[in-house]
Symmetry: C2
Subunit: 223 residues, 2 copies
DNA sequence: AAATAATTTAATGTATACATTAAGGGGATT
DNA sequence: AATCCCCTTAATGTATACATTAAATTATTT
């Protein structure tokens, strides 16, 4: 659904349902038949069905015959899957960016996200920090330019969003993550592909182990 | 669309269109409005629309407003994107499998694919070889067990299928690829994660460079 | 011949009708 | 209390009607 595409009921339904899922207004496990969802959104079943098919493709819901759409929970296993994939993909993508010796202009969105991250940390504003964290990672993907990679990782971020938001305050202030991002950015500026890859990968491993430990410690079997 | 799901017009439309695209019966760039596609498949527009949404999510078509569905070509750039992703994901997945010290039973599907590859090579049957090659890679993913990874890579294989089939006979007999698969399997049997990763990654790099060179040499800008 | 305007055609997006069938509920039986 | 049977309800899958609008075609003007 491109920004330039004209607004349709399908795109409206898609955006609203996606945002309700991401914000836990439609919590994991929530299930409703199509007529009910259509009524909630004030439209007929047809655009709702189409939106649900797209959300299913994004891994946010499953369509259960005769029971409607169910918001998929994110279990510890799911987060492990997602982090395994990100740990393979993101460091290689970042290393490829570093290998190109990106200009300061090209790195600007990453720099802005880094600066926002630092400010949010200083202000102890975890929500702003999380947003800046997302932008750091995703702007690197934009810079990298592989569209399939970008699409897939966006979908994984959507799926992981709730688990990350819910556990954010359980993880302590993200001093270490911020420092690791700083190191990654320093290596990017230096055009050092191997160092970028190494530090990024270590960051992903540490951060994902931390979150998975929390999910297991607090018995958050699913979110 | 699970195997166990009952057959619907949607699933029928999806399977038929997907197979027509993969086999070039609907070639890249082919474009038709929904009513025409519905007529071809002998059903109404509704199930066709749903099937097309799923095919769009799979990256095989794009839905063009007022112009119907267009079969996406695979350009050299696309193949490069796909191979970059596979070169990051597959070696790590295979290394993770090796690290578990898989039993001979667990490795059986990979062994069968390997044996089929050898036989196909001896018989100079490139189509059978390509099929066995697919099964080698995909059965490793099944063994690995990461569902998101598996789903994504299946979609990439679907997208890459035509380019690989069309260029198969231009690449010469895949003696080298077969040897590399043998080495990968030997390291898997030995439970050597690092060697599995290294050889797999080298294999991916060489094989993708070869195919991309052919796409550029023969000016096959798109397929 | 080319450009522009007007008209016609047809695709899409959406709503809804309808047949099928699965789920849910209630009553009877064990 | 548990299970089974029957009936009712309602969800889904699909077809099609319909309004809107974009593309295509035709007519007119330059």
């Amino acid at each position: 659904m491109t920004e330039s595409a004209r607004q349709t009921r399908v795109s409206d339904a898609y955006a609203r349902l996606r945002e309700d899922i991401r914000s836990n207004r439609l919590p994991p496990g929530f299930q409703a038949p199509e007529p009910e969802i259509a009524m909630r959104l004030g439209m007929s079943r047809t655009p709702v069905r189409e939106a649900l098919i797209r959300l299913e493709a994004d891994g946010l819901v499953e369509l259960v015959p005769r029971r409607g759409a169910r918001v998929l929970p994110i279990r510890a296993d799911d987060m492990r899957e997602i982090y395994d994939i990100l740990t393979s993909l993101e460091p290689d993508a970042a290393a490829a960016v570093a290998a190109r010796n990106p200009t300061p202009e090209q790195l600007a969105p990453v720099e802005v996200a880094m600066a926002d991250m630092e400010h949010a940390l200083a202000a102890e504003d975890l929500d702003r920090w999380a947003d800046a964290d997302d932008r750091f990672h995703l702007s690197l993907l934009d810079l990298h330019g592989n569209r399939r990679l970008r699409g897939f990782i966006h979908a994984l971020y959507d799926q992981a969003h709730r688990a990350r938001i819910v556990t954010l305050r359980m993880r302590g202030t993200p001093v270490r993550s911020t420092e690791e991002h700083r190191q990654i950015l320093a290596h990017l500026r230096a055009g050092d592909a191997e160092a970028t890859r190494r530090v990024f990968r270590a960051h992903r491993r540490r951060a994902s182990a931390e979150l998975l430990n929390i999910l297991e410690k607090y018995k958050l079997g699913q979110l």
